[in-house]
Structure formats: C-alpha cells, structure tokens
C-alpha cells in the first residue's frame, strides 16, 4: 500500500499546470484523489510525476452563464450536491451526485475528476451524456470545447490529451424539467450494475422532451435515443412509458461480469428506464 516513488508538483494556476504537463511526459493529474490514490497505492498506476491541481482555486465553483450552467472541474461533489443553481437548472446532476460514494468521498472527490476518470459505471458521466453537457479543455494551444458524446471514448479513456486539463463543464439549463436518477447496485457504496439518468419536460400531461442516459451499458455512457424519441408526445402514463422504455437496451453492448451477464443488464436497462422516466415525470 505504498506507491512507487514519484515527483510531486502542486501548481497554483492552470497555466502552471499545463506547463508541467507539457514538460513531463509521464505525468498524472491528481484532483480529489478518489480513484488515483487507490490506483497508486495498489501500484496499478506508477507515474513518474503527479500534478496536484487542488491548489488551483479558479477551477472551483458553480456559476450562471446565461443559457448554461458552468461547473468548475475541481468543485467537490458536496458543493455540487447542495448548490442552488444546480438544484434549479440541472437537478439531475444533484440527484446523481448525492449517490456518489459516501459523505467523506463526496467532500474529497471532484466533479471534473470523476468525469475525467471515465469509469463506465460511474454516476456523473451518465448524467453529463444525458444532459448533453460540454467539456471545456485547456491545452497548449488554448481552450477547446468537446461535447459529452465525444468526450467519453472508452473505459477510462477520454478526449483529453496528455498535455491537457479539463477546466470546466457547461451544462445547458433544464429549468423546470423533472429528473430522476436510478442507480442499481449491490451495496450502497458499490458501482452501478446499470444506472439510468432521466430528465423530462412536460407539456400539460404529455411528454414534450426527454433525455435518458444509460450507465455501464457499454464502454462509455450512452443516450437511449430510441426511448427519447418514442416518449415525445406520449402521455406520462405507466403503459406509454413502459412501451417506450422497452427500447432502452437497443444498440447497447454491456459487459458480462460477476454482477450480471449482458442479458440481465439489458433487462435492467428497460426496467430502470421505465422507473426513472416515470419518476422524473412525477417531479416535473
């Protein structure tokens, strides 16, 4: 449980951090440390350099930017969970964040750290995909913005280059939408076997728009676009939602492991999607 020796830097600015990443080819960025620290201690990761970005205050906080909400990459889960702007414009994020680990983990772990780690069973990537968030990445040539659908590229793999840093995430406002996060796991602190993030906008009694994200149904989180399309214009009733949710697993390729085979995960996706959408509609 002792990591391999590494060189440690704690820059105070984004530019300083980028300089260090450019200078050192085998460097790892340390955010809240909730995934990297265990990997280091188990010697599953042995980088030569650690760039600890916890001292970069600019990366923390949630702000209103017109039609979008901007969440700094180093904002701790505990802040996101209780932030009034998040509650008003992107409640799905608050709901999912509240299920991350336990209170200690939520005080240490960060919003951007969880996204950049890109575990397909994690909570926040699913939500980011469902809500069509965009990722602001700083690099040697300035900043670029990548949509969620392109940010996640595989298991633990993202669009982030080795010399780049995720600085903030822009989330379109979903003011007035209903939201629900269904996390299905074996123990409260365990990873999801399957998770479903749903946001729904109602027009009267029928569904005007829907966003549905699926977690751990493949190497990256995915949008259940067939379900979203099928829901539009439907009444938010059990029967209508059940019919639409039956398509939740369309086109997915989930893994088989000790917690369930691919068929079980596909089945769970339909059940959990039905429940998530109905629950989301109930809060709209």
């Amino acid at each position: 449980m002792i990591p391999v020796a590494f060189e440690y830097f704690a820059p105070a600015t984004v530019d300083e951090a980028l300089g260090l990443l450019r200078e050192h080819s085998d460097a790892k960025v340390l955010a809240g440390g909730q995934s990297l620290m265990p990997a280091l201690r188990l010697r599953l990761a042995a980088p030569e350099v650690i760039v600890d970005i916890q001292k970069i205050d600019d990366l923390r906080g949630v702000r209103d930017d017109g039609d979008a909400l901007v969440i700094g990459a180093m904002t701790p889960h505990s802040t996101v969970e209780s932030d009034p702007l998040v509650a008003e414009h992107a409640r799905l994020i608050a709901l999912a964040t509240a299920t991350v680990g336990d209170p200690q983990i939520r005080h240490r772990g960060t919003f951007g750290g969880s996204l950049a780690h890109a575990d397909p069973a994690a909570d926040l990537p699913v939500v980011a995909v469902a809500l069509d968030a965009s990722f602001v990445i700083a690099g040697p040539d300035g900043r670029r913005t990548v949509p969620a659908s392109e940010f996640f590229q595989g298991v633990f793999s993202t669009a982030l280059g080795e010399d780049e840093l995720l600085v903030e995430v822009r989330v379109p406002k979903y003011t007035g939408w209903g939201a629900h996060y269904e996390k299905f796991n074996r123990v409260a602190q365990g990873w999801s076997i399957v998770s479903v993030a749903a946001a729904v906008r109602l027009d009267g009694d029928s569904i005007a728009e829907a966003r549905v994200g699926l977690g751990n149904m493949g190497s990256t989180p995915v949008r259940a676009t067939a379900v979203e399309a099928a829901l539009v214009g439907q009444p938010a009733t059990a029967d209508a939602v059940r019919e639409a949710a039956a398509r939740a697993a369309d086109g997915t390729s989930p893994v088989s492991d000790i917690n369930g085979d691919a068929d079980y995960r596909r089945h769970l996706a339909t059940v959990l999607t039905r429940r998530a959408v109905l629950a989301a509609a109930g809060t709209a």
Partner: protein, 799 residues
C-alpha cells in the same frame, strides 16, 4: 463518577459502557503497527501470482542491491530453519496433509503463498525491492473446483497423491444415539416425505478491520513478539515448537487487536517469517500486511458442499436426517482447518428431536487459500442446512414454518436432552423465545400482507424467513476435545489480586479483540468482591502477564474464562476469611461475607476487602496463622458445553422485476442465559446478524479459472455497510445454563449462525408461488432474477 450516577444494584446485568472503547475507537492505542522500536526494520513479502506452480529459479540480486535493503530471504535459504506450520486437530488418526511451509521452497499451492521476503530499513524500500525479486515459475494445473478435486481429477499436491485429507462419519445407529437413517429414508419414501437438497456454503473472507501485523524484538534476553492475533498463548507455544526456541525465551503480546472473527485464530507464516527475519538480522522487524494481502492470504472460511436428505412422516414429524458434505481445506491445513466441518457435525439436528442421523465428511485439498475458523466455524453451515430444510418441509406438508418447527423441537420440560448426535443439551426454552419473536415481529400481520401481495400479483413480493438455532458454546471440555483428536485443552485460567490501595487486578487467559472483556470481567469481579467497577483493572494478552491461558474463540470467553475469573475471586474471598477472623478477633465461622466486607455476625464489627488488603500489605498485625496474601489463581475446565439458542424472523421484499432484495424488518430473540452486560450482548448480536446477512446477500470469495482471487479488494468483495442493513430489533429470554456457576452461555457467534438461513428462507418464501425453491448464496439480484427466470421457463415448459 458524578453524584447523580446511580450504582446498579448488581453489576451483573448492568449495561456498563465499555472501558476500552475510547482508546479503541480513537485508535490512540497500541495497535501492533503503531509500535516503533529503535532500529526497526520492515518486511515486504513476495507472493506467488500462480495458484499451482513449481519455482524454477529466484533471482534476488537486483533486490539485494536496492536502496535500504538489509536482506532478501527465499524459501531455499530457510528450508531447514523454518520448520512446518502445525495442524492441531487430526480428525482421524491417518489424516493426510502436505508439509506446510511458511515460505514455499520449490512448490507453490495457492496464489498468495509467500516465496521470498525483503527486509529493509523502511517499509517503502522493502516494497520497492520486493517488486525487483524475479521469480521464475513453471505453471502446473490447479485443482480449483471442489467436487472435481474430491474426485482427484487434478491433484493439488502431487507428492500427496490424493486431494482427500480425511473421511469422517458419525452414525446414530452405530453410536447408539438413535436409529438407522437409511431405514428412516426408505420408510419415508413410502407414504412419507423425503427432501433431497444440495446447499453451497460459499467461500468467505473474515475481513477483520485491523490487518495482521507482527513486530519481533530479538535484542532482549527473551524475544518479544507483538502480534495482532486472537491467540497469543498458542503463538508462544508454536514459536517454541516450530522454531526450536525454548518457550521460556519467548514472550508474545497481543496488544489491542482490531477484530478477528476466527481469522486471527491462527499461527501464521508471517509470524514465523518475522521471527526468522529478526533472528537472522539481530534487529527488530515489523511486518504489516496490506488489505490486498489480507484478502488473498489470511485464511478464508466456509466453502462446503452439503448434500442433505431429510425424511419425515406425512404430518411433518422428522424421522431422519442424512448429511454428506465436502469441505474445502484450501491448499494446506491450518491450526483447526480439518475440524471446522466436525464442529458442525453435532449441530445438524439443531433444536429438534430427530430419531436417526448420519453425517459423512470428506475434507479435500484445492489450490486455493487455506480455510479455517470463521465466526461460527461449522455451526452456521449446519444450522443453514437444517433451517432451510425445515422451511421446505413446511411447504411440502402445507403448514406454517413456525408450526413445523414446533412439531419437531425439544419441549422445555424435556431438558436435559440427549441429542441424536450425542450431545447433552442442558437447558433451553424454544417455545418462549419463539413466542416472543412472533409477537415482536407482527408475524400474523406480515403473513396477511404477504397474502395480499400474492393475490394482487405485486411485482414486489414479501417473504418471511424463520430460523431457529442452538450451538455448542464455551469451547470446550478438555476431555471432549481430546476424545475428538484435538491436541490442546479447553480450560481457562485467571488470577485475581487485591492491591494494597483496595484496587483489584484481574489477569485473564482470554485474549479479547473487540469483545469487551475488560468491562465484563470488571463487572464480574466488582460484584463478587463488592468493590467498585472502576477499581478493577483487567490485564490480558501478554504471556508474561497472563502466563496461562487458551485465548478467545468459539464463544468461550465468558463461559470458560469468565468463570475462571469468578473462581479466582472466590478463592480470594476464602483466603481473606482467616485473616479477617484473626484481625477481628472472631471465630471464622461467625463471619459473613457480603457487600465486599467480612462482618462478625450479630455485631457492627467488620472489615472491607480494601481494609484487609491494606492490612495484608503492611503485615504488621498478622500473626502468621494464615498466608498473608490476597492473590489467587484459578484454572477452570468446563464439564460440558453451553447451548445458547434463539428464534430469528426476517421479512424481505423481493423486487421480482430486478431481483433486488430489501430486508424490511428483522427480529431476533436470543437466549444466551444470564447476561452480564446487555449492551455488549446487543453489540455482539448486531454484529453477528450483519455478518450472517452478509453471507446470505453480499459476500463471496471468487477465483478465476487460473485460481487468482477475483474478489481481491473491497471493490469486488462486497462487504455491507450501514446503509445496506436494516434496523435490528433484538430481545432476549433468559434460561440459565446449568453447566457453569453463573448460568451464562455465550453470544459471540449467535447472530451469525441464525441470520443467514433466516434471510435466505425469506427470499425463497417470497418466490415460492413463482416456483422458486432455492437461491444459491450470496443471493445477489442477478441470482434472484435468474432463479425467477429459470422457474418461469420451467413452468412454461410444463404447461
């Protein structure tokens, strides 16, 4: 003490807050890993990644040259010095077992077996150098699947020629304790009921909170060994026997120890190797395992296949039980590995009157981590099998699960009762415990709700699980242990000393690692000697202080160790009598001892124990007619076991769409005899239930096809935490044991034994209308859902 605090009428029965908790909870105490000595060196182990292999070469040169490294030791280096690790319990005279080295020399038999160790000046340097030790292996085919191993399809230890370590059986007809089980089964096939089932006791990992840690100081005349162990006295003897060090030159200290659950009832390779490292380098050495090493290489528990046949009359009266079990020893025999199934063999009849019984046990080696005691040790397995069967029987007969048990259990007026497996249950009242549990649970209301949900086809079904249990506690009468092939005894030792200032020093041979002996023993002695609870100090776990003792396991500490403490206290009272008589100038026959004071009957004259202790310390007024000493030792060997029992009821909601289960309520009524400290009993019951639920729903050690532990971290080995468990409602009945002077029985394992079948019975009960009759443990959502799908497709093919 504040003025408002009321002193309880008696200490026994008072929910005293535990003396030891402040230091244990804050960690401001001497955990072994906290011990630092001048010149301390650190050890890192190199472990085999292969389950079965030959070591073809080890290149340690790079490691030896690395920064801070003092020495690198391989199995070849210490082949003659390390001796062999002991098995203390040959269950048959010609039991087979491979030599059990602390460090593999040329053959590794499980993934995680130690092949080399690095001694360095810092822990970090030891770890870094361990990565540089280059071991070449020739992989061999591992024996992994237990049933195939029992058939010798692949041999775990080629030199042994077979995987079968021992075959043991007990038959009530042969032993004269009952009838012929085959005849009972044959009779039941004709008009009665025969139930045949196979249950899997999955492999579990004890997962104590404090990983194992050892510090050895060889620089003093007497080598001092600190170890996070349950059994310091065992460790002392075995260091002497295995390494040839005179016993008088070894001192073993178990300082505060953070949990064990049987997992630290062991003499370990790591202990031997840390002693060797210290002895060879002449300097203090420390080894503390990582959590990954602990999960992989500290002994595992359970892992059995149980094939059971129950015969009954049409009315549900059981006429016979037959058990054939295969038990996985893993790669080697530890201290009592071989006897774990044996400890269950006497409990398969549970609380019931069975006229005929047979059990056959086959102990088998595989290339997995060796198994040994884990909370309950054999008795949870037995209780699981019989309690699952009783539910099946109820379903077959078409009566309520509680009713079928009542038709078969021993009535309270029938005690003492000699069982079909040859034990004598001294006491019990199953009717009272069950009636109380039934009422607290709201049994009838829950059954009504269950009916409603079934009728409406609710996707969330409700199941009600029943489990009763009894167990043999207070390990153990030495004569019984000897008759079963165990090399050691089961007695316990204590000393009680009056100190000059009126304080009392108690020395116990038990070795608590979370049980609260300091508190409970203080209550016992305060009550008996009539001194304040706060004035009693309990010492333990250091073989130079607690010279004699047999440590803590098997729910033995209070029933054996606590009773030794009382016996020592009684001797102190006896020794004080002639001294009091002399000082009070009274006839000893006219003295009464009460409330901590010898008084002269019919007068106000008297002396307290504190006054007597000071008079003895001064010695000024003693005339020499009596020994001037208020210290006493006592050794106590119990005449028989004690038999706690209980009824546990569990309501589980099963989501038939996903297979998810949720325990809605859990009620237990335990009868552990006389209770010394209800809060401690409650804590034991809570922890025990949690651990038993964990077997039912969460935990399983899994290996891949090459024998690598897949569940090698807490990420995969799913221990439940507080959010995963319900609120437990606990209550008690109190039927005193007749086998010890206080009437206590033991509670350490009770909850673990009863809760596992209660939970699984509830899940099966919920799904029985869907055709489900069993779900293998742990009942994960995936397994529950799969069981539902399977019976649905069977129903479909039948219609």
């Amino acid at each position: 003490m504040t003025a408002t605090e009321e002193r309880p009428a008696t200490e026994i029965g008072a929910s005293r807050r535990r003396k030891e908790d402040a230091r244990l909870i804050t960690g401001r105490t001497r955990w072994t890993d906290n011990i630092v000595l001048p010149g301390l060196q650190h050890i890192a182990m190199v472990r085999s990644p292969f389950a079965h292999a030959r070591i073809t070469s080890i290149d340690a040169e790079a490691a030896k040259a690395a920064s801070g490294v003092v020495a690198v030791i391989t199995g070849a280096d210490i082949a003659d010095e390390q001796g062999a690790l002991p098995n203390a319990w040959a269950i048959i005279p010609d039991q087979k077992a491979p030599v059990h080295p602390s460090m593999a020399v040329d053959h590794v038999a499980f993934a995680g077996e130690i092949v080399a160790m690095v001694i360095a000046r810092t822990a970090a340097e030891a770890n870094d150098a361990a990565d540089l030790v280059d071991v070449d292996y020739e992989e061999l085919e591992p024996a992994l699947e237990l049933k195939a191993a029992a058939r010798d399809e692949v041999i775990a230890h080629p030199d042994l020629g077979t995987n079968v370590s021992a075959v043991w059986s007990y038959d009530s007809a042969e032993s004269g304790t009952g009838g012929d089980v085959e005849a009972a089964i044959a009779a039941a096939r004709d008009g009665g009921i025969v139930i045949e089932e196979e249950f899997r006791q999955q492999r579990l990992i004890p997962a104590f909170m404090e990983p194992r840690s050892i510090v050895v100081d060889p620089t003093t005349e007497q080598m001092t060994v600190w170890s996070a162990t349950q059994v310091p006295h065992f460790v002392k003897i075995f260091i002497a026997l295995v390494l040839g060090i005179p016993e008088s030159k070894v001192r073993v200290i178990a300082p505060d120890v953070g949990g064990g659950f049987g997992g630290k009832l062991q003499f370990t390779p790591e202990e031997v190797l840390t002693v060797i490292a210290a002895r060879r380098t002449g300097k203090p050495c420390k080894y503390t395992e990582t959590r990954s090493e602990s999960l992989m290489a500290a002994h595992h528990g359970r892992d059995q296949w149980q094939q059971v046949t129950l015969a009954a009359n049409a009315d549900g009266t059981v006429t016979g039980l037959k058990v054939e079990l295969i038990a996985d020893m893993g790669a080697y025999l530890g201290l009592v590995t071989s006897a774990i199934p044996l400890l269950g063999a006497f409990m398969y009849n549970g609380i019931y009157k069975f006229p005929a019984y047979h059990i056959g046990i086959t102990n088998v080696f595989t290339n997995k981590t060796w198994t040994d005691a884990y909370r309950g040790a054999g008795r949870p397995e037995a209780t699981y099998a019989i309690e699952r069967l009783m539910d099946e029987l109820a379903a077959r007969v078409g009566v309520d699960a509680l009713e079928i048990r009542e038709r078969n259990w021993i009535k309270h007026e029938e005690f003492p009762f000699s069982t079909v497996s040859g034990l004598r249950y001294d006491s019990g009242n199953y009717e009272a415990a069950t009636a109380k549990a039934r009422e607290l649970f709201g049994y009838d209301d829950l059954r009504a709700e269950q009916r409603k949900r079934r009728e409406s086809g609710d996707p969330v079904q409700l199941g009600i699980g029943v489990s009763t249990f009894t167990e043999m506690c207070g390990l153990a009468p030495s004569r019984w242990l000897g008759s079963m092939g165990y090399v050691g005894g089961g007695w316990e030792h204590a000393a009680v000393r009056m100190l000059p200032t009126g304080k009392v020093e108690v020395v116990t041979g038990t070795s608590p690692h979370g049980q609260g002996h300091e508190t409970a023993w203080s209550q016992l002695v305060a009550d008996r000697l009539g001194v304040a609870f706060e004035d009693v100090e309990v010492l333990h776990g250091d073989t130079q202080v607690a010279v004699r003792g047999l440590d803590t396991y098997g729910s033995r500490s209070l029933a054996v160790g606590g009773m030794a403490v009382l016996a020592a206290a009684d001797k102190v009272i006896e020794k004080a009598k002639p001294i009091a008589a002399q000082l009070l100038e009274a006839n000893a026959d006219d003295l009464d001892f009460s409330g901590g004071r010898y008084g002269v009957r019919g007068t106000d004259a008297g002396m307290t124990m504190a006054e007597l202790a000071f008079a003895v310390f001064q010695g000024h007024k003693l005339d020499g007619s009596a020994e001037g000493c208020l210290d006493a030792d006592a050794t106590l060997d119990p005449d028989d076991f004690s038999f706690p029992h209980g009824t546990h009821l569990c309501a589980v909601e099963v989501d038939t769409e996903t297979g998810a289960t949720k325990i809605r309520s859990y009620v237990c009524v335990d009868d552990v005899g006389v209770v010394v400290n209800p809060m401690i009993v409650e804590g034991q019951v809570h922890g025990g239930i949690a651990q038993g639920i964990a077997q039912a729903l969460f935990e399983e050690a899994l290996h891949d096809d090459s024998g690598t532990l897949v569940t090698g971290s807490f990420d995969q080995y799913t221990l439940p935490a507080a959010p995963d468990l319900p609120t437990f409602e606990t209550a008690r009945t109190e039927t005193p044991a007749t086998t010890n002077q206080l009437g206590v029985k033991g509670v350490g394992e009770a909850g673990t034994i009863a809760s596992t079948p209660a939970v699984v019975n509830a899940i099966v009960d919920a799904l029985r209308p869907l055709g489900v009759t069993d779900v293998p443990m742990p009942c994960t959502p995936y397994r529950v859902w799969t069981a539902i799908q399977k019976s649905a497709s069977q129903e479909g093919s039948r219609s």
